[in-house]
């Protein structure tokens, strides 16, 4: 700075410099603020323009499922095999536990950001298909790009909503009562059998509770479990759903709630708070795993997952009552998002996952018995331990299955949670069986209608 400069100027000129550089800084920020979104807009446009018809153009498919570590490993390996065969196709894989899965899927879908491929079950398939969020697979099935010739017709049909195939069934399962074999051996009690009546189960369970000195309750109380209720209703010639209504009467439901109230009163089943922890559905909280009860009401294909969570040996039988109450159910599906930019590739991936024998061997029976009969035969010989037990159980039971019911209607998810609420109301002693039955019927029917 020149010493001749007047003092006043000298005093404020650094400040002036300061404001000038501040201003240029501002200009810089403004420019950056404008440039950054502009650049990302350009980049986004670039992405959109990649809709080329070149079959070897790189494609990244997003895929989303729920499940545990084991399922993640199998699914990732099967997808890697697809990438090995089609190097231009890669996957953005996202998976999480069942809790919160549907909340996230719904949010993504509502925002138009649903994954290209997502796992879904019969609870939600109608919701998504009726709202036009799943890709109609008809034309792929007609042109054989999605080969359904070896897929069991009943399972394929279970993925058809309002005449349009909306999901590719990835497996078949059926309800299975999983029990603690190890514990029964220790206590010297007989194992439960397929075909034993509900009353016989409860009587047997009372023995277990007594013999274990009250430490382990004989059976889980499945009064809040829609599939247990459904099997029980079917054994009396009824259904859980009659079109868009509940197929059971208030008397049926009262009888059902009373049955389990009796079981709790005789200590065959644990108190409501213990049952409540299992009702949320997480495998780790099932009473047969936590050692609180000798049985859990699950799907048969979940046996290996439960077995992994406990040291005691587990076994599986049908739900009590006549096994004709059970049916072969499409365990879960993969669907393609209607808005997927790579729908053709996504369908090809599903075709691969369901029909390719190698892929089937990698996936195993984690999502249920394979839907493709050839794959099922090939996979059967590779199964080990509890996976083999579960598959054997289901294969043996197949001849006794009743006709499969219609796929649950839209509103099923709400009905499921209403049943939990009202069964627990009875369990905690907050409502009588009859009052809970009335309230459940009223609200469930409203949910199905709306």
């Amino acid at each position: 700075m020149k010493p001749t400069a007047p003092l006043a100027v000298g005093a404020h000129s650094p400040l002036h410099h300061g404001s000038a550089s501040r201003r240029s800084l501002l200009r810089g920020i403004a420019a950056a603020a404008l440039a950054v979104p502009a650049a990302s807009v350009l980049a986004a446009c670039g992405d959109d323009d990649k809709s080329s018809t070149d079959p070897n153009a790189p494609v990244e498919l997003s895929i989303f499922w729920w499940g545990g570590d084991a399922r993640a490993k199998m699914t990732e390996d099967a997808l890697a095999l697809y990438t090995a065969k089609h190097p231009n196709v890669t996957f953005k894989k996202t998976w999480q536990a069942n809790a919160g899965y549907y909340d996230k899927l719904a949010t993504l879908t509502a925002g138009g950001n649903a994954p290209d491929i997502f796992q879904i079950d019969d609870g939600a398939l109608s919701e998504y298909a009726e709202r036009n969020q799943t890709l109609d697979l008809s034309k792929y099935a007609d042109s054989n790009k999605l080969d359904k010739s070896k897929i069991l017709p009943g399972l394929w049909q279970a993925g058809v909503v309002e005449g349009k195939p909306a999901g590719v069934p990835m497996g078949e399962n059926t309800p299975g009562m999983i029990y603690d074999k190890g514990l029964l051996k220790t206590l010297g009690l007989p194992e439960p059998t397929t075909g034993m009546t509900w009353d016989a189960l409860i009587a047997w369970a009372t023995q277990v509770t007594t013999k274990s000195g009250g430490k382990v309750f004989g059976t889980m109380d499945p009064s809040a479990d829609y599939k247990a209720l459904w099997v029980w209703l079917r054994q009396q010639g009824k259904q859980l759903y009659d079109g868009k209504k509940i197929g059971a009467s208030a008397e049926d439901l009262t009888k059902w709630f009373d049955l389990w109230k009796g079981a709790r009163d005789t200590k065959a089943a644990p108190p409501a708070d213990v049952v409540h922890t299992a009702n949320a559905g997480a495998v780790a909280n099932q009473l047969v795993v936590t050692g609180k009860a000798a049985t859990s009401f699950m799907w048969a294909n979940q046996l290996p997952e439960l077995q992994k969570a406990t040291k005691s040996e587990l076994g599986v039988v049908a739900y009590p009552g006549d096994p004709s109450g059970q049916w072969a159910r499409a365990a879960l599906y993969f669907s393609v998002y209607k808005g997927s930019k790579h729908a053709d590739v996504a369908v090809d991936v599903l075709n691969f996952l369901v029909n390719d024998v190698e892929a089937g061997k990698i996936l195993g029976t984690d999502r249920g018995l394979n839907a493709n009969t050839d794959v099922r035969t090939a996979v059967a010989s590779t199964l080990k331990d509890s996976a083999a037990t579960a598959a054997q159980f289901e294969t043996d039971l197949a001849s006794k299955f009743g006709t499969p019911p219609a796929v649950p209607p839209k509103g099923h998810v709400k009905v499921r949670s209403l049943l939990i609420t009202y069964a627990e109301n009875v369990g905690y002693g907050k409502a009588t069986s009859a009052a809970a039955a009335d309230a459940f019927l009223k609200e469930a029917n409203a949910a199905l209608a709306g």
Partner: protein, 327 residues
Amino acid sequence: MQPSLAELGPRTDAGPLAPSRAARRRGSSRRGEATAGYVFLSPWLLGFLGITALPMIFSLILSFTNYELLDDWSQIQFVGFKNYQRMFTEDPHYWHSVGVTLRYALIAVPLKLAAALGVALLLRRDRKGNGLFRGLFYLPSLLGGSVALALVWLAMFSRDGAFNAFLGIFGIQGRPWVNDPDWSLSTLIVLAVWQFGAPMVIFLAGLKQIPVELYEAASVDGAGRSRQFWHITLPMLSPVLFFNLVMEVIHGFQGFTGAYVLSNGEGGPVDSTLMYTLYLYVAGFTDFKMAYASAMAWVFLLVIGVITAGLFATGRHWVHYSDGGDK
């Protein structure tokens, strides 16, 4: 007050000989400053418009429709006040959730403020180690609405949890607290009260502002501890108390995370923890009834607004500003 050099700077620079030029310059630099101001504001402004104002207006519109989460836009129909009507007259869960939320807020807020004030009074003096204690008491608030904390609560207050093991030492048979519909809400209230650190820090700051002379004068006049508290501490602290009260009431009504985690997102057992915000979430994202959830959100906003306005109205009678700020 003397204008600072920075304010004078550009003016002296122009010089007194060119007033019109200076004025023009001043005008343009004002405009420039305004632009700069908006540029600096733009992140907030864009954020406010894009992720607060527009979605809010949108949700207000939605609340008069039949929109469900996954519907196409073409399926939307206006249904007038039907959502509001259903809420007030047909939905028992709605009034239930209002009751749960009121019980939660009315118990948790006073307890939390009392705990915060009590601990702040104990820690107000600069004794050795008080800094550490202030930090420790603040710690739970840092973890605040975290999911991890709620999970810890779930583990501690279940049937086989640490709390029952502790009670067991004294031969007391515990309850399955979080899984017992009669106690689950209380567990949530304890979780909320335990996080009293944030209001405590604000109380501490407020206590420091009270002139020591007031206490000295009072003790010369023979006022004991409790009289000093009621006649000096409390009135002098009332603006801070008012601030904390308003914040905590709003916070209390919005309680969500604890209830969500403890009940697996369902408000159980048997709806005992179905707080308003949780029911709103369930309605919107689990049941897909987004229009209904929007209507719930707007009623909620109005009610919190009315309650806050009510607090401000009562505040006039008991909040004392020592600089006469309430005049």
